[in-house]
Subunit: 200 residues, 2 copies
């Protein structure tokens, strides 16, 4: 088993599907015996950032704290899977600079689709002015410019998206390959992307 750690960073609009994909990646890594931790923004807030709000400053503090924990885990051989809106490019790049094997996963989703999946009606409440600084409505989202993985969650399902993340980790030799699985359909697409980014 590989001893390499990594920080798999899911970024995207609220309700874009980050947590669902992160959950499947986490479960599959556990099944394979890879040391892994799931740092889901909403849940981690309770442990790390109680009292922080949603201003730009507070959001960035929350992202930096997740990044700090991911740094400690990933440099000790753990694959830390982080799911957080993390709307600002500069803050994500700051995390990238500090952690081991930063793998940015851009979960792209049109606002209309994300809103249709938002069971808590946060998009609607933001439009009504009941939530301030809500990403995608009245706060900006800055998409990654060279994410290691690009998922279109409006057209790809969760299992397929998770498989793409896992295959990327395999192709970067962060985790050992899982033989006897059918990855052929993902492979060409991933290879093209990693090649364009200069990894392979």
């Amino acid at each position: 088993m590989s001893k390499q750690g990594a920080t798999v960073w899911m970024t995207g609009l609220p309700s874009s599907g980050k947590s669902a994909i992160a959950g499947v990646v986490h479960r599959k890594l556990l099944d394979r015996g890879v040391p892994t931790e799931l740092l889901d923004g909403a849940q981690v807030r309770e442990s790390l950032s109680k009292g922080l709000g949603f201003s730009r400053e507070d959001r960035e503090a929350n992202v930096r704290r997740i990044g700090y924990v991911a740094k400690l885990l990933s440099r000790n051989g753990v694959v830390a899977i982080c799911a957080a809106v993390s709307p600002y490019r500069a803050t994500r790049d700051e995390v990238r600079a500090n952690v081991t094997n930063f793998i940015e996963v851009y979960v792209e989703c049109p606002v209309a689709v994300a809103e249709s999946r938002d069971t808590e009606r946060r998009y609607e409440r933001a439009r009504l002015g009941e939530i301030e600084e809500f990403t995608g409505v009245n706060a900006p989202y800055e998409p990654p410019e060279r994410a290691e993985v690009h998922i279109r969650s409006d057209v790809e399902n969760v299992e397929s998206a998770a498989a793409k993340v896992l295959r990327t980790l395999e192709m970067l030799s962060i985790i050992p390959p899982a033989p006897n699985e059918e990855w052929a359909q993902q492979e060409e697409d991933i290879r093209r992307r990693l090649s364009a980014l200069g990894y392979i």
Copy 2:
């Protein structure tokens, strides 16, 4: 090499010597190739708890956050060494219940001795009312009732104290023994303590 993680928790008055002992333990573990991280309360505050103050509520939040990070590290085979005043017994016991191999290290030191080592003159400023809720002056410290390691930092030096912590980790099979070192003088004392606590 053992794959067991642990949370080594140094508790004691401000300026009792926690950070110095923690630093030596950390360096010696690194020298031995044991995966380890040092979570020093004062430094971790910057990464995890910016904005928190020193009220009982804020102190406990800081201790819980260090405990949360230690939980993630220790269950992944890392020896997390934490140094924090952590004055409340109940909060430390809460951390104990959540982490892998909690090893409580009580760094006992009379207030007068701690104060004489306090280069920042915080004890003095607390007495003058310039610092509120300062542990040992105008806020309580609740000593552990069954710490795995008990250090008297007014009479033991840092190297000896660190050796006692390391030997405890060895005797609990958390780290492999370091052969060819002279531990005999520590051993009987540690064995008596671990036996009284029902470990061995």
